[in-house]
């Protein structure tokens, strides 16, 4: 069975400027990957390549057994659900429900399918109460969620999201994390570009780091997030939980809140009275 996403020696240049050079990695179904790196490292370019908006100059991008170089974005939409920055600007339907259903309708699914996917996506992001509102009556944060719901409704085998948590508060971020985890459990592969490392820690397992258009690291996210020496040259710092783990020298170096709480309780219980 082919991987959900595979990059084979992919290179891309904007004119004379090389944005990506010899990037190769595979993402299996159900895998949850964070795509990290400073601005200009090539993350956005990679995302656009996967969505089919750009075709690689070198190498191939495979989504399942489809070569993205031979498909238009609207065809790839059957397998890839992409969410770009400023996605809230793509909303246009009269109601949130109608907008979320736009993708499935455009792909030609029958009405009951469209309805099912829409309702599930709305529920996953707790937008049911806003379903009949006009998108522009919602505050910007909820518009972002509506756009994400539209992508989830496609039920793609690969979700590619660019900064999905910008501007969201704690509660909404947790909602997004839950929704993404659920989709991954059902078999979708996740590739999330984010500099919200706390969100990445809670939701994703693997970290792929781009630096100057090249693959710098590809390893378990937890190991990466607790390694300040590796994050620093990339302009990143360990997120709070990872920093706490390191500072308190917690065994297992948990990077998730719940794991850290358990470990802390264990250590505190076993250690001298607090």
């Amino acid at each position: 069975m082919s991987a959900a996403l595979r990059l084979d020696g992919v290179g891309f240049s904007y004119g004379a400027v090389a944005a990506l050079c010899d990037v190769s990695f595979e993402v299996a179904a159900g895998e949850r990957v964070a795509l990290l790196g400073r601005n200009g490292a090539g993350k956005t370019t990679l995302v656009r390549l996967v969505a089919g908006l750009l075709h690689p100059d070198a190498g191939t991008v495979w989504v399942g057994d489809w070569d993205t170089g031979e498909r238009a974005p609207e065809q790839l939409a059957r397998r890839v659900g992409s969410l770009f920055q400023h996605a809230d600007q793509q909303l246009f339907a009269r109601t949130v429900r109608e907008d979320v259903g736009f993708g499935p309708r455009a792909l030609g699914f029958p009405a009951h399918e469209v309805s099912r996917r829409t309702e599930e996506a709305l529920e996953a992001l707790a937008l049911g109460g806003h379903a009949t509102q006009h998108p522009y009556d919602l505050p910007p944060a909820l518009r972002k969620l509506a756009a994400l719901a539209g992508t989830l409704a496609l039920e793609p085998m690969l979700l590619v999201l660019d900064e999905p948590t910008g501007g969201l508060d704690r509660v909404l971020r947790a909602q997004v994390a839950d929704a993404l985890r659920e989709h991954a459990e059902r078999g979708a592969a996740l590739l999330v570009v984010t500099h919200d490392l706390a969100f990445a820690a809670e939701t994703l397992d693997r970290g792929i780091v781009l630096d100057g258009g090249r693959l710098a690291y590809d390893e378990p996210l937890a190991a990466l997030l607790t390694s300040a020496e590796r994050l620093k040259p990339l302009g990143l710092v360990p997120p709070t939980v990872a920093a706490l783990s390191v500072a308190l020298d917690l065994p297992g170096r948990p990077v998730r809140e719940r794991d850290a709480a358990h470990t802390l309780a264990r250590v505190a219980g076993g250690g001298p009275g607090l």
């Binding site: 400073r38 302009g235 500072a247 802390l264 505190a268 250690g271």
Partner: protein
């Protein structure tokens, strides 16, 4: 010295029955940083607009209560690209837009603009066209534009939203510097973990009303954790079943840990 005071302010947006702010009272002194926290829609943005004298003057709507201002204020709204003047083709001109509108003499403008560019570390971008900037660079240009007008009250709505972690840290550092110079600062933010090191006081807004005002320590209380405005470390400490008071930051936790 109180630079800004809201007294029992209730505010309704036009054609809306439910008020966006309900009897909010807040005083901000010179040299103080007040952080507004709360869920999306809790009223932080509205409070800033009222403080900036943009609501109800420009937004329309109705205001009950009183707002006392003893100084000029400047505000940075949450979406950087909507704040560009549309009339400047270089970053320098963009930052000079505000001071020029105030009618200051040319040499004064140059002084303030250069200083603002330096403080935001964007002097190298001075000749760039604002349209070509990234979200993070744009955010800094907007803040520089605010500083160049030399307001005594600085209001910021999610100033770190578009910034990467390094950029966010530099903004928090800048706010502390500005407070040190005597400016009164009110900042709405969802970056709760940064609040303890930056803010002198925290205002927790819920449904337009003030749920709590106090030192950042209130972010370690159980209610705050339940209400979605607790810091990460406090949440972990509590979930681990350890005794209160919970530490707010990693540094706090290290101090508390044997």
């Amino acid at each position: 010295m109180t630079r800004l005071a809201l007294e029992e302010v209730t505010f309704w947006y036009p054609a809306t029955r439910a008020p966006a702010l309900r009897e909010v009272s807040l005083e901000v002194a010179a040299g103080e940083i007040v952080a507004l926290v709360g869920k999306v829609g809790a009223g932080a943005s509205t409070l800033l607009l009222v403080a900036a004298d943009l609501a109800p003057r420009v937004t329309g709507g109705r205001l009950a209560g009183a707002v006392r201002r003893r100084a000029r204020s400047g505000i940075v709204l949450p979406t950087p690209w909507t704040q560009l003047s549309g009339m400047a083709f270089t970053v320098w001109d963009e930052v000079a837009f505000g001071p020029a509108n105030l009618g200051w003499p040319g040499h004064e403008i140059a002084r303030y603009v250069d200083h603002a560019l330096e403080r935001l570390e964007i002097a190298s971008l001075a000749a760039r066209d604002p349209v070509t900037l990234s979200g993070g660079e744009l955010q800094r240009v907007i803040v520089a534009g605010l500083l160049a007008m030399d307001p005594d009250v600085v209001l910021l709505d999610e100033p770190t939203a578009e910034l990467d972690p390094a950029g966010a840290r530099s903004v928090w550092r800048l706010l502390r510097l500005l407070a040190g110079e005597g400016k009164a600062i009110v900042v709405a933010t969802s970056e709760l973990d940064a609040v303890p090191d930056v803010a002198d006081r925290v205002v927790w807004l819920e449904d337009g009303a003030v749920r709590a005002i106090g030192t950042p320590q209130l972010l370690a209380e159980d209610a705050a954790g339940d209400g979605g405005v607790g810091t990460t470390v406090a949440g972990i400490w509590r979930a681990a079943g350890l005794a209160p008071p919970y530490p707010l930051t990693v540094a706090d936790a290290v101090r508390r840990w044997p």
